[in-house]
Homo-oligomer: 158 residues x 2
Amino acid sequence: MTSMTIGDAAKASGVPAKMIRYYESIGLIPKAVRNDSGYRYYAITDVHTLRFIRRGRDLGFSIDAIMRLLALWRDHHRASADVKRIALDHAAALRSKIADLEAMLGPIEYLADHCQGDHRSDCPIMDDLADHVARSEHEARETRPRHTKTTQRRGVST
Amino acid sequence: MTSMTIGDAAKASGVPAKMIRYYESIGLIPKAVRNDSGYRYYAITDVHTLRFIRRGRDLGFSIDAIMRLLALWRDHHRASADVKRIALDHAAALRSKIADLEAMLGPIEYLADHCQGDHRSDCPIMDDLADHVARSEHEARETRPRHTKTTQRRGVST
DNA sequence: GCTTGACCTTCCTATTGTAGGAACCTGTAA
DNA sequence: TTACAGGTTCCTACAATAGGAAGGTCAAGC
């Protein structure tokens, strides 16, 4: 009753069998008990761990963070401050990632809003990409010429 | 004057030399002209292309999307509608990704807010992860037993 | 008992884009 | 001529997941 195959553990935990094997291989979970022919067998407590991992992954925690959270989970003498730090670090990373994506989204939405989107070739989106191309010429000129290795040489026609 | 090494093209475009080689290897940019000893040489127009790519990457476009944008850039008979579609698809993907991250951030911030973060072990964050563990037991029971391969067998003590 | 089909095993590959390093060759300034 | 910066290719890693191939096993039904 308390032992099941990897497939059943997968169903019970929501973690694909493939991932369970992977988590074992990287040491996130201990090596499973095997029967004589090599099949892994899992107890309910193993499924609990997998569920914990799944929830952590759903919240976007890295495998590494989950490894630390699991250790704290098992440690009855843990300080909640340690758990909180992991969570706050992750929250900061999430906020940073969101900010990055929004910094991309802003210009794109603005440009797309101003694009006719018709049969003509005129397009502020292209203009933006090309603007940056044009800007590069200035920057290229401002690059200190050091020793201008820009002469034509054998095989290169320029 | 119009020809430079990969390092100079990297400086002028903001695309690392390593990435320039990579972009060439996957066909994003054409194969560079080489001198007799195999050195790649780049013209200003190549740097323009690299700048275009860099801007596209900064806006979060995938390499594949940039490949299509480059083709449209070169096509003077392009329809701005095609450019716009690529941009709008990307905007949708960005918004979706932002929503995913916010769906993670919400619970984490809430839980962290309610965590004392002191020396005691009590922690709503852990409780959340464990809640989902508890929930798994119900779901496990609801899994149709089909042919309950949960009996003890050779080598498995349960 | 035997067949069958679902399920298990390991191992390899791909994804996405970037980066590091090793081993070796080349260009150029001094 | 000699350094040394900078070029070349090739291999590896990242992070987490997923697909497939080749082959062995379990359990049910006959």
